[in-house]
């Protein structure tokens, strides 16, 4: 079976965020595989081990994403593809990324495409379903379990805490939710092997796309940090007095109750 995983290199949002020249400052920041994409990679590896086939991890971005692609290979993926748009595209949005990925995937005869349900940096959660729509295949978002039995696929998905069981068929795109699996850490032999695994680099030209075809439909006009919250007040005195004061503050000052 042909498994494809859509992967994004993201800023580790556990890091402190600073703005520099209107952009999120990246100097010295830690970059990781988007955590939800890690679930997708792990699931693809497990499904390949069960059903045979090949796992290809695809990323749209810059040369720097090579590091995260190598990590995916070290986890156990078979091949990696970097679609490097650094020199071709100035402004990107989810339309851009989805258009490029769909163009790459259209003749790959993918049986199952896996992605994270959202990236922790941009947080839009659009790319997976957009790609499925363009490939005209069904998709299921925020999945916590997937079983493939011949042509039938049984999936459990998380819907705001409820769980929904559904049946569908291949080819299919799914997006991973927390709870799907526990992603493995790359082993040392895995890391050694990853160095020899194929990592293909493509540009827009290779996909017969022009910059105009993928031009963003939206633009970012400003990035800013939320106003610093004033230091809170830790109440003092006897506990029952503190409780009375708190209720009074919430009622009279903040008017939230």
């Amino acid at each position: 079976m042909n498994f494809y995983v859509l992967m994004k290199r993201t800023f580790d949002t556990e890091e402190k965020i600073a703005i520099n020249g209107g952009q999120i400052a990246e100097d010295g920041a830690e970059f990781i595989i988007n955590p939800y994409d890690e679930y997708a990679i792990e699931e693809a590896i497990q499904l390949r081990d069960e059903h045979d086939g090949e796992v290809t991890v695809v990323s749209v971005g810059s040369e720097e994403a090579e590091k995260q692609l190598r990590t995916a290979l070290a986890m156990g993926a078979d091949k990696a593809v970097l679609i490097n748009i650094e020199d071709d595209v100035e402004e990107t949005d989810q339309f851009t990324t989805a258009r490029i990925l769909a163009e790459y995937l259209k003749d790959k005869e993918a049986d199952l495409i896996l992605a994270g349900n959202v990236a922790i940096d941009g947080g839009s959660g659009q790319v997976g379903p957009r790609v499925a729509e363009q490939l005209n295949i069904p998709y299921v978002t925020t999945i916590t379990s997937i079983k493939i039995d011949g042509e039938t696929v049984t999936i459990v998905r998380d819907v705001e805490g409820d769980s929904e069981t559904l049946e569908t068929s291949l080819p299919l795109l799914v997006t991973a939710q927390q709870g799907l699996n526990e992603p493995r850490y790359p082993s040392l032999p895995g890391i050694m092997k990853a160095k020899k695994k194929p990592l293909e680099e493509l540009e827009l030209d290779d996909l017969d796309l022009e910059e105009d075809d993928v031009e963003a439909k939206t633009k970012t006009i400003e990035i800013y940090l939320p106003p610093k919250k004033e230091a809170g007040r830790v109440l003092e005195g006897e506990i029952d007095q503190q409780v009375k004061e708190l209720v009074d503050l919430l009622h009279k000052n903040n008017k939230v109750v």
Binding site: P35, S163, T165, L166, K217, T218, Y224, G232, V234, V247
Partner: protein
């Protein structure tokens, strides 16, 4: 120039969700002096049309079919696209809910349009409207505009004030017939884990428990406090991992993002992943035994103490307040 804006009315348990009224307000801002058209999709939903009009829709288009009883992206996409085809909108607004998140990228993909997701406020009107949305797990914000094509956005529940309900407003509720075929995914079973009552992501008050709650029983006083305040109970990942409660209550980077008017964190240390899910709440109260706990750094008010002592006292005080103000 005014725009025509479609706003999807989302149903839950036979009633419209609050976020749909908030979406109508956002739709009104985008439409400027144009037209806001409510859209209802389901098996029998036309009866909710008047409610959408009372909250700001000028008229409502309904698509009904037995295949639309449960949400599926195939079914709802066909129904919504039939409305798009008939109406030719210049703007679309959905709630940023499980349904909105699942459906909106597909519609945008089909229309070849942009989509600005998870919007928390709008600035300006009509063509100049600017959308504000949190990025990097709420640690930063970005302002976005649409460059070309349909102005399409999903809005985060509890952030945009709905218009005041005006039951005297009138408008047409019309039914559009659309052929719904080929559902490629079939729902076999739904297990409702989310607690009855107030929806966590839309609650105005959230009482959240962490490891400090110590057991499943430990959540009982939190539930009592939530009941008095008409709020919902949530939890940190720590409490879920320790099996004190179901993962459906989890608030954080993984889990739900909530922005209630009042968030009371009980026995929650305040790990960064948890803060990502609640730090934009309007007022935050922290109750924790450890005066050094990180949660106090984001709290507006803190009480250093045992939550099992503090919460029941708090419940009593709020009860008294309720009596005094009613």
């Amino acid at each position: 120039m005014g725009k025509k804006v479609l706003v999807l009315g989302e149903m839950r348990d036979g009633a419209l969700r609050n976020v749909s009224f908030e979406a109508l307000a956002a739709g009104r801002t985008i439409a400027n002096d144009g037209e806001v058209v409510g859209v209802l999709i389901g098996e029998t939903v036309a009866s909710q049309g008047q409610e959408l009009i009372a909250y700001g829709a000028d008229r409502v288009v309904v698509v009904e079919d037995e295949k639309l009883k449960h949400y599926s992206s195939d079914g709802f996409a066909q129904a919504f696209l039939a409305v798009v085809e008939a109406e030719g909108p210049e703007g679309i607004v959905f709630g940023h809910t499980a349904l909105g998140k699942d459906l909106s990228p597909r519609i945008a993909g089909k229309l070849g349009s942009g989509l600005i997701s998870d919007v928390t406020s709008l600035e300006g009107e009509g063509d100049d409207v600017v959308f504000v949305r949190p990025i990097y797990s709420g640690k930063a914000f970005e302002k976005k505009m649409v460059k070309e094509g349909i102005v399409f956005a999903t809005i985060r529940p509890n952030n945009i004030a709905p218009l005041e309900k005006d039951a005297s407003r009138s408008g047409k509720v019309i039914t559009l017939s659309a052929e719904i075929k080929d559902l490629r995914t079939i729902i076999k079973d739904v297990v409702r884990k989310a607690t009855e009552g107030v929806d966590l992501s839309e609650a105005k008050v959230v009482i959240a428990g962490g490891r400090g709650v110590k057991s499943e029983d430990g959540f009982k006083p939190l539930q009592e406090l939530a009941d008095v305040l008409g709020g919902a109970v949530g939890a940190s990942r720590g409490a879920c991992d320790a099996e004190y409660c179901d993962y459906s209550l989890q608030i954080g980077q993984t889990g739900k993002v909530v922005t209630p008017d009042l968030y009371i964190a009980c026995g929650i240390s305040g790990a960064i992943q948890h803060l990502a899910g609640m730090s934009n709440s309007k007022v935050i109260v922290a109750i924790n035994k450890d005066p050094e706990a990180n949660i106090f750094k984001v709290a507006d008010y803190g009480i250093v103490g045992d939550l099992f002592e503090v919460i029941p006292l708090l419940t009593e005080e709020f009860k008294k307040l309720k009596v005094a103000t009613s």
